[in-house]
Each structure stands twice: as structure tokens, then as C-alpha cells.
Symmetry: C2
Subunit: 365 residues, 2 copies
């Protein structure tokens, strides 16, 4: 990801200060602030306060958090794992990353743990970049094919995305946005419709900021607008991320994804989901089995932003005491999905294709 | 509409002060303020600044504005009509109301115009109440039938609504909400899911306030959430208003209505639209012919509300300079609509049924 023209990751290990650096995403889009994590507590807070968010990035942050704990005291492996797991109890990648660290570190003698934890965190960081880059290559291939069918009649390829499945949700590249970055590198003239993504506005705050830094044409819309744009023929493809995908191809993603998939289906707009293999939950038969996190009502009744004086402010938009329901995710049934884009290639959203994909070597990409 | 337990209309003529009184809707939900209109300029500002909004209410306000102009100077009929028509150039009821006033007043001698204009405004006010009340009766009948099929398995009837098609959009009762008020009067235990309705949040600010004043159970949700709730079986019926309905039954309503209609269709949830006959545009063959108003980008990039100190504040939620698209309405195709509820009864959303409805005497209700 380019920020003010320089390459930047969302997280990295800084050799000179021996600290983990992150972009504090709670300050975006108005302020770019790099924060140092020097302890387990710092890392746990970064995850729980959503200074870092996005399933892949949370996993890597947790791995670094474990290193920060073990370099202080190499005997605290178990309690550190528990402390980190509790920061976002429903994030599947967090558990996946912690279990991987646990398997690797628990057999080592304490004096070797810190160094190995650092090496593992760095390798997970590197791996996440490679996975997202591969997802981007496969997505760009799809976008290129689509562009070839459109370019005689229009001057840009219109992609609609929801929430932030960008570099900011990963170490770099992103999932859904990776394909856009790679397609732009192939000189495909992409324009992105960015759903603001209430209640937390990750589209308006993060996706617009990220695309703007990359100098990619984009337009902010309310979540209500996408159906109208599709009816008008102004969307060529929808491209979103996934928080969890079940073995039949159902996708659990940020609330509102399902509505866009319905509109895409009604208007014959292709609807693709980009996701790392690590977010596929082969243990679940369908999306109906995924528990949906109910989040705080204040996320809906109050909106955060910057006031005219440049001060971060929350404003209340509803009568005091109004009851709120705030489901964080919804399930898009596989029948509405044109394809799943993983680091191993593009796969139909059904049980057979996903089972076959599981057997594919990741080296096949 | 009951406000703090007392009956209140959105607009009325106050005999003692000889002024037109309105609820200033730009101050809701945080402050209830009654404003006096004493001149044409006051009325024009009330409409353009959206102190009053909602197609039926705008029409009645314009009629009163004409009276306020003519009592000052009975010779200014034509220029007053033009000034009022320019306040919200796309509102169809505004033109309908002004044309009706023009036809009635232009044949009168100037000395009779003011008194007749007042009488006409008051009769349009009364008529709007009667129309909405009749819509409410027909809607309540439908809700009652639905409740009879549900009451053995659940303890409340869940209605989802979008935007504010309530008493605040009319003189009293509302269109979509009229049915809810009348159903509650029949002791049907209604619970309303209220879409916040970005970008202007009329659901959060106005519908929640209005339902709260009536003591009707309701829960605020983001516009993204309705599809998920329908998949979970938590919505029994959708009930919305219409800004313009074409002769084939297509409905143009607040942006995002189409997405809810798709979700309702996908989950076999009935989707009804409540509307006065005056919003049916028999001159248009389909919704595709309706021009969609593109509104200011600042409505999307900035959110208005009350800060912690109780001060009305706008906050920016996107990077400075982000491009915005803000279509105000979308078209829901007739095929997704279970029925149109008018003051003349419930009608299928198709050309034949609408043509037959047109021939029905309004006395038939």
C-alpha cells in the first residue's frame, strides 16, 4: 500500500526500536498515526480497541503480541494465548493464528520461545502478504476478462465494494481490494463505488482513504444506493471480502453484503467474494450455523467523525433511549455468489468445488 | 399524532394569531419547536429548508403559503405560485397542490382571493387527514389478517419500515405508519423495525421519535440490517411510502427501498406500499421514466446530530475531498410489490388494477 507515495504495511517489526509498529486505524481517515506496541497489553488493546481490524491483520497482530509477551517472560505462553484470544472472541482468524503459534511454541524450551515467536510472527506477516497478492492476481485476471467485454462501450470498469476488505484489513494488498490494485497495475481503468458501510463506516473512513492514497478513482455512496446504481447499469461487478465461508459456499461478511448480492443477482451483475483459505470453515455445513455477533447499540445511535473545528466527535442521531439492534454480519447464500477468489484460484461457491479446492496444493498457485 | 400525550398536527392555522403553525422537523428528534409562518417567504423557507417535508405535507404548506401571500397583496397570485413551486422543484405533490390552488383562485376577483385561499388550504389539510386515515384503515385490515395467521406462534407482529412515511410526512396519521397506528388501536401488538435511512436519517430522527411519542414498540437498525432480519424470520411484513407511483405499479421511494423489496421477495415477506392517489402518476408507463434527483454530496460525507454537550453538530466521516454520489430515490419494480394501499383500498401493483382503481369513486371507501 502506498501512503503519501511511500510503501507502508499495516503492521511491521521495527528492528531499531525492537517494537511492533501499526497504523492506528481508529484515527483514519483524518490522521495517519503510527503506534508502537512494546508489550502484550499494547497488542491486546490494539485488537480490542480496533486500532487494527480485519480478520487477517488481527491474526498477525496476535502473533506479534505473543512475541512481546514471551520476550518479557518466556513462561507465560498459556495465559498470553488466553488473553489475546479474549480480545475479539468471535474473530475466526484470531483463533486460527493463536492455535498455530501454540502448536509451534509449546514444544520449545522457554529460552527459545521469544526468538521463535518473533520468527513465526514475521513469517505469518510475510505469508499474509503472499496470500493476498495471489488473491489479487486471480481477481485481476477476472477483472481483465470482464473489462475486455466492456471496453468497447464504456471508459471505465465499475466495481462496487462493501466495508473495507483492503490492505488495511490485512498486512498489505487486502482481499477484495487486492484485485483492484493488481488490475490498475495492468492499466485497467477501474472506478470503485464505495459503500459507506454503516454502522462503523469502514467504507467511508478506510476504503476511501486507502483508494485515495493509491490514486484510484472512487465514489462514496450510502449503503442504500447500490441497488439503484445496478439498475442503472452503473456497476459491472461486485467484489467483497468474507469473515467466514462455510463448506457449501455461503459467505458471512459485514452486515449489508446480502442486500448487495440480491441486487447483483436481480441485475445480472457478477458478485465475487475474495478470501484467504484460512477463513473457510470446513466444519460448518452452511451459513445458517454461524452465530452472528450482536454489537453495541451506540454504534448505530451515534456517529463518529470530525467536526468543523477538526475535533473527533460523536453525534447522536436518534431520540435518547431508542432501542437498537446491531447485528454485525449477515450471510449471503452461495446461490447468489458468482465465485470465490482464493489464493489457490477462483472456485464456484458450492460444496463440490470447495472440497476440491481443499485438496489443491497451495503451491499450485 | 400524540406528542407528549396531546394531539398535534404537523401544520395548522392558528385563529388567534392568524398565523400558520408548523413543527420544525429540522430540530427533531432532539427539540420540539413550533414555528409560526406569517408570510410567503416564511412558507417558502419552511419547504426549502425542510422544516416541513414529505410529499403530502409540502402540498398543504404551499397552499397555506399562497394564502399568506394573498392576504398581503391579492394581486401576486402568479408570482407566488412560481416562488412556491421553485422551493422543491421535483416534489410532485407540490405541483399538484399549486395547480389545484391556481385553478380555484385565478377566476376569483382579487378581494375574494385571500379568504378563498385560506378556505382551500384548510380543506386540503382536512382532506389529507381523511385520505391518510382511510389508508390507515385499509392497512390495518391487512395487518390484522396477517396477525391472525401469526399470533399462535409469536407474541408480536414485526413490521419493517424505511424512511419516514409517518404523520410527520403528512398533516396527520401518515401513509405507511397510519396502518400501524390504526392496527395498534385494534390491539394488535405491533413492533416496528426502523431503518435509519441514510443519508438524512429520517428513520432514526423522525420515525423513531414519532413512534416513541405514540408509545409503539420499535427498534432502530442500520439500513444494512433488514435483509439479515428477514432471513432470520424476524420481519412479518414491510410497509413503506411512495414519492411517485407509475401506471404499471412501479414505486419510486426513498433510496434503499428497492433493496428491502428484494430481500422481502427472497424471504417471502409481504411488501406493501401505502400512498395517496395523488402520488400516482398515470402519465408515466414505468418507473424507468422517473428522473432521480441527485442530492448534495455533503449529505453523505457529513452526518448531523447532537454532540455530548447537546449542541447540533455536523461531523465528517470521509477523507476531505472524497467524490460522492447521492441519488435520493430508487425505483422498486412492481413485480416485487405485494400490493398498493390507497385511500380507495388495496390494489395489485399492475396496470390493470391501477386503471380500475382510477375509475373507482373515492366515495367507495
Amino acid at each position: 500500500m502506498l501512503i503519501a507515495g511511500k510503501h507502508l504495511q499495516t503492521i511491521w517489526f521495527d528492528e531499531s526500536s525492537e517494537s511492533v509498529k501499526i497504523i492506528d486505524q481508529t484515527r483514519l481517515p483524518h490522521t495517519l498515526e503510527i503506534v508502537s506496541l512494546v508489550s502484550l497489553a499494547d497488542a491486546a488493546t490494539a485488537i480490542s480497541a480496533m486500532q487494527v481490524r480485519g480478520a487477517p491483520l488481527i491474526g498477525v497482530t496476535a502473533a506479534y503480541g505473543l512475541y512481546l509477551a514471551l520476550r518479557e517472560d518466556p513462561t507465560v505462553l498459556e495465559q498470553s494465548l488466553q488473553q489475546l484470544a479474549a480480545t475479539r472472541p468471535t474473530a475466526i482468524n484470531l483463533r486460527w493464528a493463536l492455535e498455530r503459534c501454540q502448536r509451534h511454541l509449546q514444544t520449545l524450551s522457554p529460552e527459545n520461545r521469544a526468538a521463535e515467536a518473533l520468527a513465526l510472527a514475521r513469517s505469518m506477516e510475510r505469508e499474509d502478504i503472499d496470500v493476498c497478492s495471489a488473491i489479487g492476481d486471480h481477481s485481476a485476471e477476472l477483472l481483465d476478462e470482464l473489462w475486455q467485454t466492456k471496453k468497447s462501450t464504456q471508459d471505465r470498469l465499475n466495481v462496487l465494494t462493501h466495508c473495507n476488505a483492503g490492505a488495511l484489513a490485512t498486512v498489505d494488498w487486502g482481499t477484495a481490494l487486492a484485485g483492484i490494485y493488481k488490475a490498475v497495475n495492468r492499466d485497467i481503468p477501474i472506478h470503485v463505488w464505495v459503500d459507506e458501510t454503516r454502522p462503523r463506516n469502514q467504507g467511508a473512513a478506510l476504503t476511501c482513504w486507502e483508494l485515495g492514497q493509491q490514486d484510484i478513482a472512487h465514489t462514496l455512496i450510502v449503503d442504500n444506493a447500490g441497488g439503484h446504481l445496478m439498475r442503472q447499469g452503473l456497476v459491472d461487478v461486485c467484489l467483497v471480502g468474507s469473515d467466514r465461508t462455510t463448506s457449501n459456499g455461503d459467505v458471512c461478511n459485514k452486515i449489508g453484503t446480502y442486500l448487495k448480492a440480491l441486487a447483483a443477482h436481480d441485475n445480472r451483475v457478477p458478485f465475487y467474494v475474495a478470501l484467504p483459505m484460512s477463513t473457510i470453515d470446513y466444519s460448518l455445513a452452511s451459513g445458517d450455523a454461524i452465530p452472528i455477533e450482536e454489537r453495541a447499540g451506540a454504534e448505530v445511535s451515534h456517529v463518529h467523525g470530525r467536526n468543523a473545528e477538526g475535533v473527533h466527535t460523536a453525534v447522536s442521531i436518534a431520540p435518547v433511549g431508542t432501542a437498537v439492534s446491531n447485528p454485525g454480519f449477515d450471510v449471503t447464500p452461495a446461490r447468489l455468489i458468482s465465485g470465490l477468489i482464493t489464493e489457490r484460484g477462483v472456485c464456484a461457491a458450492n460444496s463440490e468445488a470447495l472440497a476440491a479446492l481443499r485438496l489443491t496444493s497451495s503451491n499450485a498457485t
